[in-house]
Amino acid sequence: MSVVKAAREWRLIPFGAYSPSLNMAIDEAIFKLMAGNKLPPTLRLYSWNPPALSIGYFQNTESPLIKEYLKRGYPLVRRPTGGLAVLHKDEMSYSMVGTFARDGFPVSRQEAYKKAHESIRKALNDLGFEVNLYEGKEFGYKGDLCSSSWIAYDIILRGKDKIGGSAQRTNGAVLLQHGSISLPEELNRGCLREKVMENFEKIFQVKLKQQELADVELSLAKKLVKEKYEKWEWNYKGGRFLFLGRD
């Protein structure tokens, strides 16, 4: 007799297009409350309304390139995660939060990066796009844009354009990873969403169960919007603000 192990359940937050500050606040709220509230690993697919520029935790807003985007009228938000600037326009974002090695969640940051990108690569392949994961090993930031800095497992279209990358934050054994996929021309966001969910389930060997944010997450997110992600000090000064007001 063979025993089929039931797939572990992860939570899937329903898709929504939110403001830059709310998007970052929701991701941080899920991350902050993960450990204490015994929540299952959580996947969230979302987009940005209005389109916006997100920058890494340590990035300097004085860079000419970031200033150029601001001049063009894009709102700016600083992420709680590392990495470089991403323009969230004609793209789809995702976030995943969980505790390492629990409920089917990856055991390391590297595994999380690879598996999430593998799911997205497979989704894009299924939709007929020639996409692969970058196999280079070197690491070093090149310029200010995420799309110009390639690291291992980044998502590459037709061998020449980086269209997907992610950034991470850890708090002990809890990981927040979020990333952005630029939509190749003629690709509908809805189709990609369906395929990404399907491939996340296959690659992580889990079952996604749609569920709204808990009240406690939503109220923390609202607080973070007000006290952090809409604050000039956080968005433009970052770390320095952190140690004045605590994170």
């Binding site: 890494g56 935790y57 709680p80 590392g82 930031y141 934050r169």
Partner: protein, 129 residues
Amino acid sequence: MYPKELKYTKTHEWVGGSGGFIKVGITSYAAEELSDIVYVGLPSEGGKVEKGSSFATLESVKAVSDVYSPVSGEIHEVNHGLQEHPELLNKDPYGEGWIISVIPVGKGELNDLMNAEEYEKFVEEEKGK
């Protein structure tokens, strides 16, 4: 493998020192796990740290990680050199890669930390997970 004169936390920080000041840094295991550290967010001198709460942030390969204080107290000195040379955390974590020195408020806070031998065992268990 880990310096015997230091004590260690489960979140992979080390503490050591005497004469009323305690130096804090991250262990060689933590530095290896993080790989190349490219940015360091440091607190201010004179600020307070609380045992178990984050006092610094590090960025490596797109990940931001927190460093937790093993003791409560006042920050006496900050290793500002790390801002220019974050690689010291990888190259010399127990020497030039120290992060802050603290004047602890209470006594006995170090008692619940691990010694080098216990920490080595702890790391082996972590690796096996």
